[in-house]
């Protein structure tokens, strides 16, 4: 396992819709609506299926383990998780 597992709190009532310019997300717990870039939206969509750690996310998104990601790719993944956590769309278990 690579770091904590990340999840979308099922009690927060998160709804996601994919568009050509990104993902819109409704977070019922706060009432906020967000527009996410396509990559961050894809990360959130993965977490909505089930909680994942960094390694599982890397496999789901890139088809290889986190250790095999280029440093820029890993940074992007970590930044996406941090961005989701900042607006309470994802949390570390």
């Amino acid at each position: 396992m690579t770091g904590p597992r990340w999840r979308v709190n099922p009690a927060h009532g998160v709804r996601v819709t994919a568009w050509e310019d990104g993902y819109t997300v409704f977070h019922a717990a706060s009432g906020d609506t967000h527009l996410l870039d396509p990559f961050t939206g894809q990360v959130l969509s993965c977490l909505l299926e089930h909680p994942m750690d960094l390694d599982e996310l890397a496999r789901a998104l890139a088809g290889r383990p986190a250790a095999a990601l280029a440093s820029g790719e890993r940074d992007a993944l970590e930044k996406a998780l941090a961005a989701l956590a900042r607006v309470h769309l994802a949390e570390a278990e």
Partner: protein
């Protein structure tokens, strides 16, 4: 019975007494006022709207009146009340009819929560609706007024009511608010259109309302299926230009500008997402009404 069929003395009696009950699409409003300007302009601009029996249920009860006090002797004012709640500061007496219209908009936007209420104009042609969200000054009402005088049906120039269950848009077919340079432009564009008296020096400048076309009022109970969301923008001397507007951004803009999106919560988001998924979204820049009409006509014909 339509308002035009009611004798003037009966209109005055109802307005001064139990209230004149008018139906504007799915909303019925009871209006009370003794102000002659309101009586006259209401009779002129709502002539084709159905009058409901005095004892009927009404969604909203509104009243326009002159506030008491000595001030009324040298600077008469008008006040709007919703039930007995007064949501606004009084305005100069000759702003009475615009105040009624603004008050009715406020009432619908703040109370008709069985709809998702978007801040946008909506018009229809061939069974398909174009929703026109835009900030003040973008030319939204001018464009709406121009198109409904040339074959498009008016649902609203200000409030788009979306049924969360069906996704259909419901119309009010109320007068279109026009201001400043739009007024001579529309008078020239549609010489037969009927306008109420202008109110000068309002917060928006000179304002007058255009009577909705009778056929729009006759069909106001007919909801429409949304087909387009078009963000219009008047750009001086610009050639007409219709370009795709990203739909994620469109949803976010509606979420920011809808009147009751936050009240409806998840239901509001689902309604909005369904709307955006079912339409094409465009930005539209224009300077001439003829160009705008040609663009909208092509759109309606699927060209």
């Amino acid at each position: 019975m339509n308002l035009r069929e009611l004798p003037p003395e009966d209109i005055r009696r109802r307005l001064a007494g139990p209230g004149l009950c008018l139906r504007t699409g799915p909303i019925t409003v009871r209006i009370r006022s003794r102000l002659p300007a309101v009586v006259h302009t209401l009779a002129l601009l709502y002539a084709d709207h159905p009058v409901v029996a005095e004892e009927a249920f009404c969604d909203f009860h509104v009243r326009l009146f002159q506030p008491a006090g000595l001030r009324r002797w040298w600077r008469p004012q008008v006040q709007f009340a919703f039930d007995d709640f007064v949501p606004f500061k009084p305005l100069p007496h000759d702003h009475a009819f615009p105040m009624l219209e603004w008050g009715l908009n406020w009432a619908v936007a703040n109370h008709a929560h069985w709809y998702l209420v978007l801040h946008a104009a909506v018009i229809e042609c061939g069974g398909r609706a174009a929703i026109l969200p835009a900030p003040p000054g973008s030319g939204k009402s001018t464009l709406t007024a121009a198109l409904v005088q040339r074959g498009w049906r008016l649902l609203s120039d200000e409030l788009t009511l979306i049924d969360p269950d069906t996704g259909l848009v419901h119309g009010l077919a109320r007068p279109v608010s026009l201001k400043n340079t739009s007024l001579p432009l529309l008078r020239a564009w549609a010489p037969d259109a009927v306008f109420g008296p202008p109110a000068h020096d309002t917060l928006k400048g000179t304002v007058a309302h255009m009577k909705p076309p009778p056929e729009s009022v006759a069909r106001m109970d007919e909801p429409a299926r949304p087909a387009w969301v078009i963000f219009p923008r008047y750009v001086p001397d610009a050639a007409p230009r219709l370009t795709p507007h990203p739909r994620g951004h469109a949803l976010l803009e509606f979420a920011r500008n809808a009147f009751n999106y936050s009240i409806l919560g998840s239901r509001g988001y689902d309604t909005l997402a369904r709307l955006i998924a079912s339409v094409e979204c465009f930005d539209f820049h224009y300077s001439r009404l003829e160009d705008a009409l040609a663009t909208f006509t092509r759109l309606a014909h699927g060209d």
